[in-house]
């Protein structure tokens, strides 16, 4: 059996008496889109935050390519190659597309201009930004120097996904990427997610939108009461069966599905 790219074992996080995650497992295999679904309060967000370094679990362990890792900040996870697109997108609306793509990872000019005067290599960053955007088929954006606030919801999502795909070397995590979008834009983003996977990056997709989940996911991780209830595939179960497991109306199958 292949080693999971990213694996969590027995993650637990408590806030006072509230248990957010209660010994949860998760495994993500190479080249797949793993959807994570669960009712509100099932611990999806906390689980994802632990994987992206935004939350330090009380106990349990995380493995990246089979090696144990300890993330203390989102930057740690990022340095390790895990990129997260948050629901809020984490874009700076006043800055342009290229600036946002390189936000926090700006490239400086070579030579004294860069080292002494800290001058940014704007042309290179713009060219790279254009390349990344068109790699993902988001060439509709006419101007890479356009402020992000002037973009539509789907376009902003595309910028955030392009950023994670450009810099993520191991895993891309997407938190509710289609939640705020219309039908057309939502479908566009789903295609974007497939494109990211087809470029070789495994994706974790957190979503409430069952049709979207069943459309793109290779496997579906169902989170319930702070634990992984089971893992199914769109082929093995129907949408209503998944919802039944999620809400506790049906018993989960005993053995999680491996790819």
């Amino acid at each position: 059996m292949t080693t999971p790219v990213l694996e969590a074992r027995g993650l637990t996080k408590r806030y006072g008496r509230v248990v957010a995650i209660d010994g949860s497992d998760l495994s993500l295999y190479p080249g797949e889109i793993l959807a994570v679904i669960g009712d509100n309060g099932a611990g999806k967000s906390s689980l994802i935050k632990a994987l992206s370094g935004a939350l330090i679990p009380d106990s349990g362990s995380i493995f990246l390519d089979g090696n144990q890792v300890h993330f203390r900040t989102p930057m740690d996870a990022r340095t390790a190659g895990i990129e997260t697109v948050y629901q809020t997108l984490a874009l700076a609306p006043g800055l342009d597309i290229a600036d946002n793509l390189f936000l926090g990872r700006e490239e400086r000019r070579s030579g004294t201009l860069g080292s002494m005067f800290r001058m940014l290599d704007r042309r290179h960053m713009r060219d790279e930004a254009k390349r990344h955007m068109s790699d993902l088929g988001v060439a509709t954006l006419q101007n890479i120097g356009q402020a992000v606030e002037s973009l539509s919801g789907g376009q902003r999502q595309a910028v955030a996904v392009a950023r994670s795909a450009a810099f993520g070397s191991k895993v891309v995590i997407l938190d509710e990427p289609t939640a705020a979008l219309g039908v057309k834009e939502g479908n566009r983003v789903l295609q974007l997610i497939r494109d990211v996977r087809d470029r070789g990056l495994p994706v974790i997709l957190i979503s409430h939108n069952m049709p979207h989940v069943f459309e793109v996911a290779d496997r579906i991780h169902i989170q319930r009461l702070g634990k992984r209830a089971t893992v199914i595939t769109p082929a093995s179960h129907s949408m209503s069966e998944a919802v039944a497991i999620m809400t506790g109306a049906a018993q989960p199958p005993p053995q999680p599905v491996a790819p």
């Binding site: 809020t88 984490a90 874009l91 936000l103 926090g104 005067f117 800290r118 606030e149």
Partner: protein
């Protein structure tokens, strides 16, 4: 998606008001610049003496201290903060400078460097309280404003130090180069160079991008991997240094260091920033706008005086301008995309 990308075609059908809104949204400096130009034209029509080299050099000299303060204030307002202690740090730094050089008998250069360091430290205290103790900037700087003014009286013993008693370096900022009838002081040159420096660092360095991103949405910036605490702290410390430099320029301007000046500087610096089109909500604005904003304040004060308007009404006019500027900012922010 297709409709959103055809951005510029849609504009053609917009009303004039909407189009103006869009232009101002894209070029926030245009509004203040228009106000400045109209004011200059109006005041020179009202009084022929306004547009003389002598008077314009006076305007620039009057503006220099406020503009330097407003530059530091701009950095802080760009991060959605506010600094009520700007003038207090400037005046306290000038008092420290004068006393280091006279009572403590330090060489001018040492006194200068040491007091600039003190100004930076005062800004850093603000920054520490804002980033580490997580207090709102308004409250922090309200507290430090009071503390710095009080320390100011203690150190100075409420006495003014005359420029002639200080090393010449202290008052050097007041010396000027004649350019025809126009007198350009070294203080103004320093101020303009500082504006150039920050025009560059805000627009062309990663630090500048991080300042904008942090001010725009601090949580987004943090998630994007920016160490927002560090960015904020650096902004407050750098602003402190700029205020101290303003204090040095102030000594040159007054040819003395007095603990009793500068009460109005705190608010004037905010006025200049707001008039310059920088948004109090953070993340939007340019230092160029602030320079224009400071010039607007100077031109109005001077022009109204030449026009024979009483001092009390000058404040009225400036206050009105501020309200108009803030309303305009709100309107521009509501721009539809």
């Amino acid at each position: 998606m297709a409709t959103a990308t055809a951005d510029f075609d849609v504009r053609r059908n917009d009303s004039l008001g909407l189009r103006i809104q869009h232009v101002l949204h894209a070029n926030p400096v245009l509004g203040p610049l228009a106000v400045l130009i109209v004011a200059i034209i109006a005041f020179s029509i009202i009084n022929g003496r306004f547009l003389t080299a002598t008077n314009l050099s006076l305007v620039l000299q009057q503006v220099t201290v406020i503009a330097t303060l407003a530059l530091g204030q701009t950095l802080i307002i760009l991060t959605a903060g506010i600094d009520l202690s700007a003038g207090a740090i400037a005046v306290f730094s000038s008092i420290l400078m004068a006393n280091f050089a006279t009572k403590a008998g330090m060489p001018g250069f040492i006194a200068l460097v040491l007091s600039l360091a003190c100004g930076t430290a005062m800004g850093a205290i603000n920054g520490f309280l804002v980033t580490r103790i997580k207090l709102p900037p308004f409250i922090v700087t309200l507290g430090t404003l009071t503390i710095f003014f009080s320390l100011n009286s203690v150190v100075s013993n409420s006495e003014t130090v005359r420029g002639s008693d200080m090393p010449s370096l202290m008052t050097w900022t007041g010396n000027s180069i004649p350019l025809g009838g126009f007198r350009l002081t070294y203080g103004s040159i320093i101020m303009l160079l500082l504006f150039g420096l920050f025009f560059y660092s805000l627009g062309r360095t990663a630090w500048g991008k991080h300042v904008y991103a942090t001010g725009d949405d601090v949580e987004a910036a943090r998630l994007a991997g920016i160490r927002t605490g560090r960015v904020l702290f650096s902004v407050y410390a750098v602003a402190g240094l700029l205020y101290a430099i303003a204090g040095w320029i102030l000594i040159g301007r007054l040819a003395s260091a007095s603990p009793n000046v500068g009460v109005e500087y705190n608010l004037d610096s905010i006025t200049a920033v707001v008039l310059g089109g920088t948004s109090l909500f953070g993340g939007r604005g340019m230092v160029l706008g602030t320079l224009i904003g400071a010039l607007i304040v100077g031109v109005f004060r001077n022009g109204l005086q030449l026009a024979g308007v009483e001092v009390v009404w000058q404040g009225f006019a400036i206050g009105l301008l501020v309200l108009v500027a803030v309303s305009l900012d709100q309107w521009i922010r509501k721009v539809k995309t």
